[in-house]
């Protein structure tokens, strides 16, 4: 049970980074990014490639993954100048799938590494210092929690700066910020790069935790799950995004305990939990549209 909880919290922490990142882009800046998983994918693959193929130190690999995802976020921001929000949203979905197709079709070093086989045997940082794998997992959980806490502070701070205030204005349209002299393209570029970098960190942490990655981990449905976390928790509120993450992760992982009671076939279980999450989202949108933890007003007077 303890093993399971450590696993659950580690995964929730990694996905928490994803939902903080989406909340920065969507909750704050109003960017409807439907390909958010691409940052996670790039962070995971680039770190893995650097470490496994080029023998880079793990820390360097992770930084490389973060940088690649941040740059890719900047690249994704470029068409926003020309495309309307909804069209841009659809294009992000396509972009993420294109990147996944590239990894699905590219061998990495040998014919049986990369492509649909994925990459296995990804080294885990400082594994040699621990004899016991459960002690190591606890250590890795600590790393994830430190990353999550620092990121949480970073995004909270960002939201409170004049930079964050302009992003917040942009989610209700470009016209007013533009008329007030804000170069909206530059703000969006920076929001996409920071969000991309955070997503890359999550992906790199996942790759070196799971020790295996493959294209099947980065399907469009994963983006949907991150959206579910943010909408459930409360778009615009970073604490809410984390609450939403934890609830969705708990539902996602607890179905395995419920299954034996209900005598459900394992094959039915996967789709069933997606249905459960889907129904939950519908209920949230109908009855608590601001999410469980709604956005807090910034107060200057009292």
């Amino acid at each position: 049970m303890i093993e399971f909880l450590v696993y659950l919290f580690t995964m929730a922490g990694i996905w928490g980074l994803m939902s903080l990142s989406l909340n920065l882009q969507y909750g704050l800046a109003g960017l409807v990014n439907l390909g958010h998983i691409v940052f996670f994918m790039l962070g995971a693959y680039v770190s893995t490639i650097l470490v496994v193929l080029f023998d880079a130190p793990i820390l360097l690999g992770m930084l490389g993954g973060i940088a690649a995802a941040a740059l890719f976020g900047g690249l994704m921001a470029l068409p926003t100048a020309r495309l309307q929000q909804d069209y841009w949203g659809i294009s992000t979905l396509a972009i993420a799938e294109i990147v996944r197709m590239i990894f699905l079709n590219t061998p990495l070093g040998s014919p049986y590494v990369g492509r649909a086989f994925g990459v296995s045997g990804i080294p885990r940082p400082l594994r040699g210092l621990f004899d016991d794998s459960s002690a190591y997992n606890l250590f890795y959980l600590a790393i994830v929690i430190v990353c999550l806490a620092l990121t949480y502070l970073l995004v909270r701070w960002l939201a409170a700066t004049p930079f964050g205030r302009t992003l917040k204005a942009m989610r209700e349209g470009d016209a007013v910020p533009q008329a007030l002299g804000k170069p909206v393209a530059s703000f969006r570029l920076r929001a996409m790069m920071i969000g991309g970098g955070i997503g890359g960190l999550a992906g790199a942490l996942f790759a070196h935790y799971n020790a295996y990655i493959g294209p099947e981990y980065f399907l469009p449905v994963e983006t949907f799950i991150i959206w579910a976390m943010v909408i459930l928790g409360g778009a615009g509120n970073f604490t809410g995004a984390l609450v939403g993450t934890f609830i969705i992760m708990a539902i996602y992982n607890s179905t395995r305990f419920i299954a034996p009671w209900l005598h459900i076939d394992a094959q039915v279980l996967g789709p069933l939990r997606m249905i459960a999450i889907g129904v939950l989202i519908i209920l949230v949108i109908l009855f608590v549209p601001q999410g469980l933890v709604s956005e807090r007003r910034r107060r200057y007077d009292r």
Binding site: P162, V176, P177, V184, D301
Partner: protein
């Protein structure tokens, strides 16, 4: 001659498909006054505002603001030169508070640069405090002082107009473009907005106002240009211009003399 006009519009044309929205419009807005721009619906007023502020690109013609050619600039670049606008519908972000809206409008904020925000935190915080004081003072002028922490979306339509005005003042523009400030505003608030605009004019602010309300044009504007079907059909003192036949024909579709002849 007097000083160089603040805004010069020269032979500006704009068409949307087959529709000619602006047909070689030429206009000079001098410094030191309230300049009115009127015309029936569809006469091209908002298109002209959009061209002047960089939201639309003209097909031909030049726009010169305070000596700088602006017809190829992006909206935020025009705004940074000191030419700021409001919108017909109040677009102030509704999910931000009144004070957040005001702080948003402050010009040249160093905290918009992430490196400055991170490494010059103290300077940014001092700037924020100064902007907050200024924002509160401006909210006082438009009678919104008590609403600072209210979400803009919770304000009434009239209060939103006032917020839009205060927000634009916060940006410290050299020329303020107001797009129908009186639309959907009750008479009492209308008088209030007019008096705020006049007071600011007397303090040396410059306005270009698009408006349908003739009372406002007559009482508040120093000069007025009339657009009809994308062309300038009259300009001059409001009292005189509003009595001209072609202006009445454009607005009411019949000239005074004709009415007299039939009557």
């Amino acid at each position: 001659m007097t000083a160089e006009p603040l805004l010069r519009v020269r032979e500006v044309s704009k068409r949307f498909g087959g529709v000619v929205a602006l047909d070689a419009v030429t206009l000079d807005v001098p410094a030191g006054g309230i300049y009115g721009l009127i015309g029936p619906n569809g006469s091209g007023k908002t298109t002209l505002i959009n061209v002047v502020t960089g939201f639309l690109r003209a097909d031909a013609g030049t726009v010169i603001f305070a000596g700088t050619r602006t017809e190829r600039l992006a909206p935020h670049e025009v705004a940074r030169l000191g030419l700021c606008r409001t919108f017909q519908a109040s677009l102030a972000p509704q999910r931000m508070t009144v004070l957040e809206n005001m702080l948003l409008a402050a010009p040249r904020q160093s905290g918009e640069s992430l490196s400055r925000a991170a490494f010059a935190g103290r300077a940014v915080a001092a700037e924020e405090r100064a902007n907050l004081d200024k924002a509160r003072a401006l909210l006082g002028i438009v009678n919104l002082a008590a609403k600072g922490d209210e979400l803009a979306g919770n304000l009434s339509g009239g209060q939103r107009k006032l917020l839009g005005l205060a927000q634009i003042l916060m940006a410290e523009p050299r020329l303020i473009l107001l797009d129908e400030p009186m639309a959907g505003v009750n008479p009492i608030l209308m008088a209030e907005i007019s008096s705020v605009i006049r007071r600011l004019r007397d303090e040396g602010r410059n306005f270009l106002v698009v408006e349908h309300n003739m009372k406002f044009i007559r009482e508040t504007c120093d000069q007025v240009t009339v657009l009809d079907a994308g062309r300038v059909i009259a300009e001059g003192e409001p009292g005189e211009v509003l009595g001209r036949d072609e202006v009445l024909r454009a607005y009411l579709a019949r000239p005074k003399s004709e009415t007299a002849a039939h009557g």
